[in-house]
Amino acid sequence: MRVGQILKLYPYAEDFFSVLPVTPNPKVTVTEFLLGIEDEVLQDLGQGTEDLIKRFNEFMRQMEQVKKVVDPIRSITIIGGQDKCGNAEDVCLTIRAGEIICIVGPTGSGKSRLLADIEWLAQRDTPTGRNILVNDRIPDAEWRYSTQHKLVAQLSQNMNFVMDLTVSEFLQMHAESRMVQDIDTVISNVINHANRFAGEQFSTDTPVTSLSGGQSRALMIADTAYLSASPVVLIDEIENAGIDRQSALKLLVDKQKIVLMATHDPILALMGNRRLVINNGKISKILTTTDSERRNLTILEKLDQQLTNVRNALRYGESIDRLPETLIGLWGEKVI
């Protein structure tokens, strides 16, 4: 096929040609073009002609793979192994798409190992001896190293944007790498949602590196919901940087993600359907969020909102002489 035709049918082929120091004539075929590259240029490139042809074919094949839609993931099952002392972990837990599961436990208890077992699709070959099933079946071994179909996306408090791009350029790039159709709609969806979560608005031409903590987190969540191919989202705390965490989690659930959240913030933890308690390397308890816990969540949220209002008052230069009645009611008599 001629270079021009290929570029028209498969625009991403541009990425292959753009790294070469010579620009192809659209009227010649790809093989003619690659055969015509001078030896000296090839030496500089560090590649041979035959190798380039092979690479081109492999490149196109891989890019086609990215576009391929895989079977949606409906559930993940964790079958227990043993704890750090070798005691059995008596667990068989199935998590379904659209569910939020919280993971609690002290530092060093094995939260990260559990998340790593899921990411690695452990088959009794990690220190915990756990088994992970996907859609009730043992997953294909090749999944482990697949970049296109990576099972797990991660969000943590330590993550920052490092690319020197504006919000829209950044999303454009991510969308292109995922080869999504109708890029513009997806981008505007992501930005609208992120802005709704963040409270403080940002525009499409803000550089991603100058977003505030809350704005960054909001954009990361919206971007993961719409643009990440990974069906499982691991969240390591979401700081309360003035973002609407409930709506943010709801978007992930709406997009049928399986959300696993390591958190010790009661407001986040009680938003989950279930809580896994990790102790000494194993899941020692599975708690289902009870009705009274949900009622308490409403109270905690109100309290949190009041604290947020105090923070906002501070932000906008108001005095904090007076606190809301309910906040004083808790402590007032004793403190004053």
Binding site: V66, A116, A153, N160, M173, S177, R178, L227
Partner: protein, 229 residues
């Protein structure tokens, strides 16, 4: 003895990742490991490896092209490792000019690069990345999910055949998984008859031989001129 050649740009986290992978290979697979650390002027990584009970030797290339230095010594390194009855020898070298080509046909070739190096970096790196069997991406814990995905995609574009995996050199996350790939490395008795996967960067001009003066009169040998038109 198994042989693994590891290369990557400076400060990508090669040593940290290798220490983590070595840990699992020692603990889980009970392997006796050796590392040859190639560097330019100086390195203190020897201590880090030795503290973990890994037999280590350092090769400093000084004013020579580190790549050429590496390949002229690798056979002796292999013999040294076999002599010491190692199960696996890992060579670690820094790809200082991006045109480095340290990978040997048949030996497991690993390239380590980091997410912070910028999304255009995978395209800029030559044979060191393009001819690797395994690409390990580091510093994934501090960039966003989207950037991680885009970076991995760019690596995939640069090397369509390699296995791409993430390792956190600080916490060791992913090291166990990557160590499974190291276990697959081929064994060698000698490197006789073996060849590089691609030619190394060329040199041999008057400056290679110590010339310091600037000007056409002093340029001899393999000299190349820029096109500034």
């Amino acid at each position: 003895m198994q042989l693994v050649t590891v290369a990557g740009p400076p400060s990508a986290g090669k040593t940290s990742v290798l220490l983590r992978i070595a840990e699992t290979l020692q603990k889980q697979d009970k392997l006796h490991l050796g590392v040859i650390k190639f560097d330019c002027l100086s390195t203190r990584d020897q201590e880090l490896y030795q503290n973990k009970g890994i037999l280590t030797r350092v090769g400093l290339s000084g004013n020579l092209c580190p790549d050429h230095f590496f390949i002229s010594n690798v056979e002796d390194c292999l013999a040294w490792g076999i002599n010491r009855e190692l199960d696996m020898l890992i060579t670690e070298s820094a790809g200082l000019c991006n045109r480095c080509s340290p990978h040997i046909r048949g030996a497991l070739a690993v390239c380590i690069i980091d997410n912070l190096s910028g999304i255009h970096t995978p395209q800029k790196i030559g044979p060191m990345l393009k001819f690797a069997d395994v690409v390990i991406i580091t510093k994934s814990d501090i960039v966003s999910q989207a950037e991680r995905e885009v970076f991995a995609f760019k690596v995939r574009q640069a090397n369509t055949g390699a296995v791409i995996t993430h390792v956190n050199g600080i916490t060791g996350q992913g090291a166990l998984e990557a160590s499974r790939l190291f276990r697959e490395a081929a064994t060698f008795d000698s490197l006789q008859g073996c060849s590089l996967r691609f030619t190394m960067p060329a040199a041999t001009c008057s400056y290679c031989l110590g010339q310091t003066r600037i000007g056409v009169d002093f340029q001899m040998g393999n000299v190349k001129k820029m096109d500034l038109t």
